[in-house]
Symmetry: C2
Subunit: 257 residues, 2 copies
């Protein structure tokens, strides 16, 4: 039987808020067994870009990353946010190690080609995750704390979506561990009624999803999120949990399996 491993993805909104972040890191430290943290930092990057007079352009929620913006995300994700999170985790007894995809060549990507007239710039789509290398850190009782940056193997850092990095890392590590992937989220889980925070759907399987999609219970931005989660499950991840950032204990939210 494979050993359990929990991967938690925390987004930019939580990273931005010192109190929320401290709470999330405490909850993360309480998770038993092997673990990995993947963080975003988009809001910090947007603020820093603004201070530097660099305009933030988004298309479909994705950041257009020109050379100036690449500098901003490299320093904000890889430096400001990552080292802050690592130092905070160390202070509460978690032996965190900050990594981006370039470190130890753990996550390599390819620069996204322009498509439909949109050039995302220095954005990387994940090509390969070295699960064995990441597992090596984990087996040394280190807790990989991953910033949403990858590299192309040719010397370029590329901005990469943190959700995707979490999913791809989960898939790679599912070869070696019994992986639970937790996406921290601004809602309690996937809701059957978007206006009712209590209407959390406890479990969604592929067949449930097809039904909810057909009858309109799930729509909009939740569709790709759940599709990605199901793809991770179909690639070997044991379960994906979508839950509040204050409820990452595995006992709350929607389980996708």
């Amino acid at each position: 039987m494979k050993e359990k491993l929990t991967i938690v993805k925390v987004g930019g909104a939580v990273v931005e808020d010192e109190l929320q972040l401290a709470q999330l890191l405490r909850d993360f430290s309480a998770i038993e067994g092997r673990k990995v943290l993947v963080h975003g930092g988009g809001r910090r990057a947007t603020k820093m870009a603004e201070r530097l007079g660099i305009e933030t352009k988004m298309v479909d929620g994705r950041r257009i990353t020109d050379a100036d913006m690449l500098e901003v995300v490299t320093m904000v994700y890889g430096g400001l946010v990552n080292k802050h999170v690592v130092a905070e985790l160390q202070a509460i007894g978690v032996d965190a190690i900050g990594l981006c995809g370039a470190d130890g060549d753990i996550i390599r990507s390819v620069k996204r080609p322009p498509k439909n007239g949109i050039d995302y710039g220095f954005v990387g789509d994940v090509k390969q995750v070295d699960g064995a290398k990441i597992a090596h850190f984990i087996e040394k009782n280190l807790v990989p704390t991953i910033a949403p940056l990858t590299h192309d193997g040719q010397g370029n850092i590329l901005n990469t979506n943190a959700d995707t990095m979490a999913s791809e890392t989960a898939k790679a590590l599912a070869q070696l561990y019994d992986v639970t992937l937790i996406f921290s989220f601004e809602k309690r889980g996937v809701l059957s009624n978007p206006d009712d925070d209590e209407s959390v759907i406890p479990v969604i399987t592929r067949s449930d999803f097809e039904r909810y999609k057909a009858d309109g219970t799930i729509s909009g931005g939740m569709l790709p999120k759940i599709e990605n989660a199901l793809a991770a499950v179909e690639a070997g991840v044991s379960q994906v949990i979508i839950t509040l950032a204050t409820a990452i204990d595995g006992q709350h939210g929607t389980i996708i399996k």
Copy 2:
């Protein structure tokens, strides 16, 4: 017999210059055997601070690091410079892993108390280096690429002098390896005549140093540099080399032993 390990320290001036940096990294990649890179980044930090309207204050060549400046150095050293260097090393076949002192708790420091009316702010003096942890990465054929940031174990990142980090890392690793520490420098080595670039002193021992100090051959800023190098040697480092950034092959410069 201990295995050889080379630690190269590269300063902010080289890091700032793309061509010089690329050359140095190529030379670094050509060094045989186990190795570690320690980098600065002060000039980049000063430029970024300026763009953010943050004034750089130096006392005796050391940066006063208030909360705003700490943010700048954390993102510039830990993110912008470190990830750039790591990606470049990966591109030339060096399996670099970017680390600051907080990562894996490898280098812990204490905040420097104000002294003689000078408060350096968030500056850390190295307290302990976990040589075994760093060696563990080295034994996995990874090349630690260290940014000049440490942590205090209480959640705070502290700005730390890169020369000191290189020396302290060298001392800790000297327990496990036959360590050569190379300081890349703007001169060919320690000069017996500051106006003659050809007057490199090939070897300096403790007794040579005392003699050169007494007769005035070595003076000013070189004194603490050589004093630190001799202290490293006396703590077990096999040799310290002070040389040009374009001559880090161990065959040039001044050897302090």
